[in-house]
């Protein structure tokens, strides 16, 4: 018979105000194998822990029940305390008599005391059968995969590589940079976006610690924190990038022009082309759906003209395997599809564009070489309407959240417009202005005052074409008047949404997304860069809308967290997991199918099912599913559970 100890916490009045702790402690002391029973005002305080430690030492206890708050609060505290006295920490259990008793039964004190005693007795039953367990040690691979080559992924990859870790960076487009490559100047300092970005991209391209795979996607992920096994699909570029010298002759001679997504429909690109000029890597890709060779075999111009003989029409997708210890998901954003915004006429009226399209216009390497002109007739717009919160902050119809970047970039765009067209009038429809970053409010106020921007607080109800103008119907809620603007051009600050395909990727990674498709963090305040799956980390707009400053800060935070994780070569894991009684298991395989963590596997040689201890999370699904009762959970065996139930029933 084990010698057990019971320690009942008052938690100030939280427990003692409802439960008669003295009488409970007295009753527990009468239980046959309880060698020590005590109560104290705060068991978790140092003197409280001292009581436990002394009792273990003096009474040579072999098991401890602490009756207090939820185990998620202090289980660790008390297990550490018993460990310091040489007791196996898994012989210490928590009886939750606060959240599950005193707090919910404040008006029925006698019954609460009775219930608290039952909870403690049941927990004693558990401790009687508890085994001594050791944490499972798992060796880890100290390299990292970063998914997404925008500013978030680039920052995280570079930080990790500079820290000495091997990094694999994959990007589904043909070049690095993400949406930031489309931007002209960035707020609040109005620095051009591209030069700094390209400098960083070149550093990544040349870094010996970074294995860069552009035009590549994640195909499959297996494994767990510290030991992920990946399959990466390198899409066929049809150009041998090793041989290509970036001369650009193939692009010059390609006869196919098609509407460029990168230019937001304002420009064209060739069937063989760079993503943008001076892109990193500076190598072209043949886009099969537009290339005449792939459509009907009628053209081989690029092949004929290439001095390095680098064109590979027959190239196939290639799959490569990788092993890493941690993964950063930096998949970025898209803008809400404007075509679904009927009232704003996007897609129907050529002079209604979105914020990214205007960024392309403002870029010196963009389709208009930096000039703001109407897409319909090339004229300079004299009346320009900016509409903020398009599809953002509209829980009834679109997205309920704030996209966080629009207030600032709209002010920036209006400022640049006013500088370019001094006799033009910008009108900005807004709900309220959110300028909470460093220097943002100052930038905004200065811009409004100096540039004479006309801010109208209200929403727009309709945008339509009339007499060659874009008519905007809205309301100014400060004057209470309807407003009608005959504009030359309208710019929509459309909502930031997660980029295409994030849900599929999250499913592969066993990470979770929220109802809008943004990746969810483990804890919004305390673990903001960790996903809910161990070893998967988040950075950038894939987690939530944010501007460049915030994205870079978050990416660096992510990189630091991973460096801490990978600073040792072993990981310790909770041993409270499933195990199999080999004599009973019939090898039916039901547990393999039911396991949500892929932790169960058939051992074909022995004909039984085994538990992969590093993967098992101790959820108990296999235990419930096993028809032969061959699976058990460590320290939560069927016998323990039944005896605990008995305590409550009798």
């Amino acid at each position: 018979m084990k010698k057990l100890g019971v320690f009942i916490c008052h938690c100030g009045v939280n427990i003692a105000g409802t439960v008669d702790v003295k009488s409970a402690a007295g009753k527990m002391g009468e239980v046959e194998d309880v060698a020590h029973s005590a109560d104290y005002i705060y068991m978790c305080s140092e003197p409280g822990q001292q009581i436990i430690r002394e009792a273990i030492r003096e009474k040579e206890l072999e098991g401890v029940v602490v009756a207090c708050c939820s185990p998620s609060m202090h289980e660790n505290t008390f297990r550490k305390a018993v460990k310091s006295e040489g007791m196996n920490p898994y012989l210490c259990e928590i009886a939750n008599i606060r959240e599950q008793c005193s707090w919910v039964h404040q008006k029925e004190k006698e019954k609460a005391t009775e219930k608290a005693e039952e909870i403690i007795l049941a927990t004693l039953e558990k401790v009687r059968e508890n085994e001594k367990l050791e944490a499972i040690s798992v060796s880890i691979n100290r390299s990292v995969l970063v998914i997404g080559g925008g500013i978030a992924g680039m920052t995280a990859a570079l930080d990790l590589a500079v820290g000495g870790y091997e990094v694999t960076l994959i990007e589904r487009e043909q070049a690095l940079g993400g949406h930031m490559t489309q931007l002209s100047k960035t707020f609040p300092d109005l620095h051009p976006a591209l030069p700094d970005l390209l400098a960083k991209a070149r550093e990544i391209e040349g870094h010996p610690g970074i294995d860069l795979h552009c035009y590549s996607e994640m195909e499959d992920v297996k494994g767990y924190v510290g030991n992920f096994e990946l399959t990466i699909r390198k899409k066929a570029t049809h150009v041998d990038w090793e041989k290509c010298n970036g001369c650009g002759l193939c692009i010059r001679d390609c006869p196919v022009d098609y509407v460029s997504q990168f230019e937001r429909g304002l420009g064209v690109r060739k069937a063989i082309d760079l993503l943008y000029s001076h892109s990193v890597p500076n190598k072209p890709v043949i886009h099969r759906s537009h290339c005449r060779y792939f459509i009907d075999g009628s053209c081989r111009k690029c092949e004929e003209v290439c001095p390095e003989k680098a064109i590979r029409f027959k190239q196939k997708d290639e799959r490569i395997g990788k092993k890493v210890g941690a993964i950063v998901v930096a998949t970025g954003f898209d803008l809400y599809p404007g075509e679904r915004l009927g009232e704003y006429g996007y897609g129907e009226i050529p002079d209604v564009i979105d914020g990214l399209a205007l960024e392309r216009m403002l870029s010196v390497d963009g389709p208009t070489k930096g000039k703001i002109i109407r897409p319909s007739d090339g004229k300079v717009p004299k009346e320009m309407v900016f509409i903020q919160c398009v599809a953002s902050r509209d829980p009834d119809r679109y997205m309920p959240y704030c996209s966080r970047i629009c207030c600032m970039y709209t002010a920036k765009q209006a400022k640049i417009y006013k500088e370019q067209v001094p006799d033009g009038q910008p009108y900005i429809f807004y709900m309220d202005i959110r300028s909470d970053g460093k220097g943002y409010e100052e930038f905004l106020q200065k811009t409004i005052e100096e540039k004479g921007l006309l801010y109208l607080r209200g929403r727009v109800s309709r945008v339509f074409q009339d007499d060659g103008k874009v008519r905007v119907l809205g309301v100014d809620t400060l004057t209470g008047k309807m407003v009608e603007v005959a504009a030359d051009m309208v710019v929509l600050a459309t909502a930031v949404v997660p980029s295409d395909g994030v849900k599929d990727l999250a499913a592969k990674l066993r990470a979770t997304v929220d109802r809008h498709g943004f990746l969810t963090e483990a804890h919004i305040k305390l673990y903001p860069v960790e996903s809910s799956t161990k070893g998967i980390y988040l950075a950038g707009c894939g987690q939530s809308p944010k501007d460049i400053s915030d994205t870079v800060s978050q990416a660096s935070a992510t990189a630091s967290k991973i460096q801490a994780l990978l600073s040792t070569d072993k990981l310790l894991q909770d041993p409270l997991i499933a195990f199999v009684d080999e004599n009973i298991c019939s090898g039916c395989g039901i547990c393999v199918e039911i396991c949500p963590y892929e932790a169960r596997e058939m051992d074909s040689r022995r004909g039984i099912s085994v538990v992969h201890s590093a993967l098992c999370q101790g959820c108990g699904a296999c235990i419930a599913a096993c028809p032969n009762f061959a699976c058990e959970l460590r320290n939560s065996s069927s016998i323990q559970t039944l005896r605990m139930m008995d305590t409550f029933m009798t």
Partner: protein, 289 residues
């Protein structure tokens, strides 16, 4: 097949021509409008406050009584349609409100009527292709602006009549009669509605914009489904003319008047006398009468 018909108050007075032509047209198309017995005013506004049960009682009573006589209820007036359709949907989906309403009206109605606008009957039940067959005098060359107003379309989730921003159902109907539909951006804007009582200048302004937009886009006639809208955009034209010099009046017709004419009804039975802007010169010029 017969359809239950809720006329609503204006159809017996100001919009008698809408009521009469709709009945005559349905006769020609092989169905009858069976007027429900013992009907009242629909209340004319769907309540904006969610606890305003009182305003839901008149339409609920209409629905409950209609259910005792059939399964599909149709109306012509866009406002009645809006109030009745939304009330029906509420009774269907909100059990708590349903119980409350039934307690008040001392009836048991579960929201299981289908409420269709007359245009929806024409499209879904009869089919525009059949109308095309029945047209005897196609309205060839008539440039007609289909004016939806707001009540047929909004709120979209509840009305589900057609796309709330770019509806086309009305235009398809005009095409079936051989007319040339004219698209104009103000076709879904509000006419000012009841403002014509309290702030008539607001309704005048709204109507001017709608008509101006239709005229600018080439319409020779504006076609309406709603007595309220018609009052504003037709009768208000005298005020518009006073305020905006140079405004040329444009006839406003009910869709059923055009349908009757196209199907060969004698124009003298189409109630053109009730239209404020006389459409006869235009119709004569086009050779329809």
């Amino acid at each position: 097949m017969d359809y239950l018909y809720f006329p609503g108050c204006t159809l017996y007075t100001k919009a008698k021509n809408l009521d009469q032509t709709a009945r005559d047209c349905s006769h020609l198309l092989g169905f009858e409008l069976k007027e429900i017995s013992n009907w009242t005013c629909c209340g004319a506004t769907f309540p904006l406050a969610t606890d305003n049960i009182m305003a839901l009682l008149p339409p609920s009573r209409i629905l409950a009584r209609a259910r005792q006589e059939g399964a599909i209820l149709t109306t012509l007036c866009a406002i009645c349609f809006n109030v009745i359709k939304r009330t029906n949907r509420l009774i269907q989906n909100d059990g708590e409100k349903r119980e409350k309403i039934n307690n008040f009206i001392e009836m048991n109605y579960q929201g299981d009527l289908r409420v269709l606008h007359y245009l929806e009957i024409l499209k879904q039940e009869i089919g525009f292709s059949k109308i095309k067959e029945r047209v005897k005098k196609p309205l060839a060359g008539l440039k007609a602006g289909a004016y939806y107003g707001c009540m047929l379309l909004r709120p979209f989730d509840e009305m589900g009549f057609d796309d709330k921003e770019r509806p086309t159902l009305f235009e398809e109907f005009l095409e079936a009669m051989g007319a040339e539909p004219v698209d104009f951006p103000y076709k879904i804007e509000c006419c000012g509605s009841f403002q014509s009582v309290g702030s008539p200048e607001v309704a005048t302004e709204c109507s001017y914009k709608i008509l101006g937009s239709a005229i600018k886009n080439g319409a020779e006639v504006v076609v309406s489904t709603c007595p309220m809208c018609t009052f504003n955009i037709d009768h208000k034209q005298s005020d518009i003319k006073e305020k905006y010099l140079g405004f040329k009046p444009i006839p406003v017709l009910y869709f059923t008047q055009l349908l009757g004419m196209a199907m060969g009804l004698d124009y003298q039975t189409l109630g053109f006398g009730q239209n404020f802007v006389d459409p006869l010169p235009l119709l004569k010029e086009k050779g329809f009468i």
